[in-house]
Subunit: 315 residues, 2 copies
């Protein structure tokens, strides 16, 4: 049995997988703040899986996905700002307590791996899938032939900071018109400027009610996501782009807007039409355990997960 955790900015999702990939148990908890909060969250989540009937002694590995930069095969997480973590050797902190091998991976990369496994049942050989995470920021994870592809410096899939409009809004990275400045949750909230528990949802509702400022932001959101899809397909030849992350909870309201943008750019362009982009964009199902599932695969392999050898089945 393998355990996978997705330690998010607010919630932590944990799954226990049988050897055939079946999800045996799943628990969600609130993520603690700072290094010690994260460590406690991880240990508690594994304990809670035990109280859900999981035989804790049968756990062979624990994989953890979390925001921030994680080197390949590394134990260390740096710049997980949403968790209040500047730097943390999470493996050193939890492995002795858990008593099984632990591996850490960037959350978007783990989710990419999990989304690919859940889509194809592990039989992803030959296919390139990009997982486009629309959250506070924007980044993509790339899975080729069932294996995570991080690139030599770990920046593969960093489409968020590609500028697609020299006149576009200023990005927190210092450039103008980055995809993240158009479509990232933090950028939308900042530009929307009104307090709301879910600013992107509030902006979408206001746009539906005729607010022209909100409509401009909505247009930018769809433009940014469509640009990311085009770049992922044209540069990586991704067979499919799976959209996930907090903003993907907008569901059809998001996907219809993105498809309309893709259709509009293809209207005058036979080349773009030939790529059939709208058919190649999917949304990660709401409530999908992809990130925790992928983390479990990372844990099982301890480095890059060879999910082609996994028998992953939808939980």
């Amino acid at each position: 049995m393998r355990v996978g955790l997705d330690v998010g900015g607010t919630k932590t999702d944990a799954v226990a997988l049988a050897d055939d990939g079946t999800v045996l148990a799943r628990v969600r908890s609130v993520t603690g703040w700072g290094p010690s909060g994260v460590v406690t969250t991880v240990l508690d989540a594994v304990g809670r899986l035990g109280r859900e009937g999981v035989d804790v002694s049968a756990i062979r590995s624990v994989g953890i996905g979390m925001p921030g930069q994680v080197g390949p095969g590394s134990h260390r997480v740096v710049h997980a700002v949403n968790l209040g973590v500047a730097e943390l050797d999470l493996v050193a902190a939890v492995e002795p307590r858990l008593g099984v091998p632990v591996a850490v991976e960037n959350d978007v990369k783990a989710a990419a791996l999990g989304a690919a496994a859940l889509r194809t049942g592990g039989d992803g050989h030959g296919q390139t899938m990009a997982y486009l995470n629309l959250g506070t920021g924007i980044a993509a994870g790339v899975v080729r032939g069932g294996r995570l592809w991080r690139g030599a410096r770990g920046t593969a899939g960093e489409v968020g900071h590609i500028s697609v409009d020299p006149q576009g809004p200023l990005c927190r990275c210092g450039q103008r018109g980055c995809i993240e400045a158009l479509a990232g949750g933090a950028a939308i909230a900042r530009r929307w400027g009104r307090p709301a528990p879910l600013p992107v949802l509030a902006m979408m509702d206001a746009a539906d009610s005729g607010d022209t400022g909100a409509q401009a932001l909505r247009r930018d959101l769809m433009t940014g996501v469509a640009a990311a899809v085009r770049i992922l397909v044209l540069t990586l030849d991704a067979d499919v782009v799976v959209v996930g992350g907090g903003i993907s909870a907008l569901g059809d309201r998001l996907m219809e807007g993105v498809v309309a943008q893709l259709d509009a750019s293809a209207e005058e362009s036979p080349f773009m039409r030939s790529l059939r982009l709208p058919e190649r964009v999917e949304r990660l199902p709401a409530g999908s355990p992809a990130a925790a599932f992928g983390a479990a695969l990372v844990g099982a392999a301890r480095t890059e997960a060879h999910i082609t050898q996994e028998r992953a089945v939808h939980g």
Copy 2:
């Protein structure tokens, strides 16, 4: 001994490689027009290598790079418009006459493979190199760990038709602000509008002389190339981007402009600075046999060339 040919729109470059990758002979000829012209060009080029002292009976394979779409492991070339070829089974046409295995590859992909082999002596394992071809159009070839990466549908590296400016010039593909519309040779010549044997060079000279229209085109050229570099690094995590193709003959005038653009976009962006893009851009040396060299590797493998096993040496 392996022979490689780069069949270009005007000239054909042919090399004969020893088993250790040494270039034994190199001949250049004028490319014939249309399917029969291309076939004659290929047969003549091999014959001319013989007259340069190559023992034609020792040739074990012939690889041919040419513009147009070539499927993986395919014999057929389609849409090689610059050569007057709508469709041609080049292998069927020349293999019986040459009496050795023949393989065909898209010229940019062949050049990418050759550039990678010539850069690293074949030891490209683990590195990702993007070869950005600045010609009539713009496309990139991607070599990972010494192997050509074409993607499932062959569109990997098609950065030319990514829009980076919604207000930019109209592209022949129908979109606005495509990288190719900013930096492709045909687009520059069309926008420049004055007859010249080398329109991009004429535009650059006019820009140097203070022509404001030419200066705007020059700015677009540098902007487009810099955008392609950023996209290749951020999406593919390319370790290095090698710039080649006709426009790269501008030499330092091109590279200095591109680096200035990369520096400008990084000025306000610590993230972009951290990528050290100017250090990761190189120009293919003038007169490099990369394309014919890569074609020889393709011929040797008949499908994707495993250049990690080649001992490639500069000719």
